[in-house]
Symmetry: C2
């Protein structure tokens, strides 16, 4: 199944519960958009493209189960639902991008009329747009994967941060999708998987996915990436992104900036793999991207042999993302091809294309 | 008590078992140098200065419990014991530095004679030298601490990697010793504690020590250091070291290199705090420092809510140290004062001083 999937029979949204992997594969079912907002916040579903699609389907749920009996009432309900969903997480722009796309349909003046029939038509239009976002995501991922895999030679060792695979998207993946495509092309990549503290998306989700695909990998501590870059064992670094600013600065999972520094210091190419829906031309630079700070418990809850590592009463800070300055980025891989420096000009040209 | 302490009554070596902290404070007792070698390898005791002192006392145990009845036999036993202790861990030069110091006493041609009396005198000489190493370590730490603390202003936030406190030394600490001194001087430092994967010496040991001293701190994921450096919240970075090469390259706990890159990129001063016993002028540069690779289980054994994070069957790599090129180092803080670039000339001058 897809990571984010509409159940047409039951009119519910199904999400793979990523908090339980790799120990347990469980699918959670939602019929209330408020639960979807909560699921996004709690990271049942995570990954910029996946939360975009989940939020879009969240609006489809809001439409489906709204008690509204006419168009204006339904439109109001959907605006409210979009606000709730928007607030679930601040950094990934795909969330607001997807909501805006669906709201454009909601506000389409061509959709007129009164009574149950018009309400039903708007419900359907919202679901159709959400489904389109999901389907496009899969297609876009595979386009990016082909552009990225074309860069890779035989038997390359690459470093990958966080999870950017099928679980981070509707299906297939962004950065991990590139590696997957190279694998399908017989290039036999080997992946050094950053475990990605604090939530361990690398050790938990990326390792699990690579096992499914039969791709060779080894998990490393995030701090060890520098060693493997320095020792000449790594050919490329692939990461996803939660938001790319107009100048090419990249917000991504915490730790990405230090990884990019180490890649740059060793002249190893560093590639964010991002659908154009992740590019936010409204922000001039990365310093303007809102950075979510999450519960310190995510840092402190770590256990070794059943014992919590940190002393009781310990305090922690937990910024979930950081910003990699564009000067450290070799090229941004999008579905429309590679974007190289100067990023400001080339990203703006891409948006026009 | 000290982290590494000789029990004169029972003629045993006592080590705080650092694998159990912060959950349990337990002191392990040794009367066999082979167990001490094992304890160093298993990281009952860790930290370059602490393992140096532990190895020296290991030789004192070997001398104490050797069945040798004359000097040549005892000298042979001690040479064998030194070899076993030397092999316990490869990266920290303090281990071989301490062993060499004790062996110099062992081989002192002035110590002559035959029979039990001469054997007893060598036993005493070995213990005296080990105790001198331990005592000097404490004094040297406090000298470094004063040099380092003099750099600090009021209320500075600093980043600290791994554990370099009393637990990493005989007592007091190197990098953490600097912070401790600043605290005692009323400068109210605030420490961002790198949790330091995979063995979490930061979250476990440094946080525990800071709690004891009443110093303000917050634990962060190693990958988050870049964020706090970038955001201008951090004034300095202090780390220890396991070996410093003649050109100033610094081998230290894995993750240090990426931290140094992030400090450098944000013009935040980066200071290794190292006793001169950690400086190895016999190695021209850091590429010649042997880097220990430890059991992948240290990376894979991590648990969250009682469940192992990585999939079963997952593989990992676990280099325990990395090398920070001297170009990223602001100054090396030693007991003889600050060593600034050019490091090659200034370290060699220091050795002569």
């Amino acid at each position: 199944m897809r990571t984010v999937e509409w159940d047409y029979e039951r009119k519910t949204l199904r999400l793979i519960d990523q908090r339980l992997l790799p120990g347990e594969f469980k699918v959670a079912t939602y019929d209330d958009y408020r639960q979807v907002a909560e699921a996004i916040w709690a990271m049942v579903v995570r990954g910029a493209p996946a939360i975009g699609a989940a939020a879009a389907f969240g609006l489809a749920l809001a439409a489906q189960y709204s008690p509204a009996r006419d168009l204006p009432a339904l439109r109001t309900d959907l605006m409210d639902a979009a606000e709730t969903l928007q607030e679930a997480r601040p950094t990934a722009v795909n969330l607001s991008w997807a909501l805006k796309r669906v709201l454009k349909v909601v506000q389409d003046p061509a959709l007129q009329g009164s009574g149950p029939d018009s309400v039903e038509r708007l419900r359907e239009a919202v679901l159709t747009e959400a489904q389109r976002i999901a389907d496009e995501d899969v297609a876009v991922n595979q386009q990016m994967a082909r552009h990225g895999a074309a860069l890779m030679g035989e038997g390359e060792t690459v470093i990958h941060h966080c999870n950017t695979g099928a679980l981070a998207t509707v299906d297939w993946g962004t950065a991990l999708g590139v590696i997957r495509m190279a694998h399908e092309q017989g290039k036999q990549p080997h992946v050094l998987v950053d475990e990605t503290r604090p939530r361990l998306q690398g050790a938990r989700l990326t390792a699990w996915e690579l096992d499914q695909y039969g791709i060779s990998y080894e998990i490393i501590s995030d701090g060890a990436a520098g060693y493997f870059l320095q020792s000449g064992q790594t050919r490329r670094v692939f990461v996803g992104a939660d938001r790319v600013a107009a100048n090419g600065d990249v917000a991504n999972k915490i730790g990405t900036y230090m990884l990019a520094l180490a890649a740059y210091d060793n002249e190893v190419p560093f590639y964010p793999v991002v659908p154009t829906s992740t590019i936010d031309l409204s922000l001039a630079h990365g310093g303007l991207i809102p950075i979510e700070e999450r519960d310190p418990g995510e840092v402190l809850s770590l256990q070794v042999e059943g014992e919590r590592a940190a002393p009781s009463g310990a305090r922690a800070r937990n910024p979930a993302f950081d910003v990699t300055p564009h000067r450290l980025v070799t090229a941004i891989i999008t579905e429309k091809g590679l974007v190289e420096p100067p990023f400001e000009a080339n990203l703006s040209r891409l948006a026009g294309a």
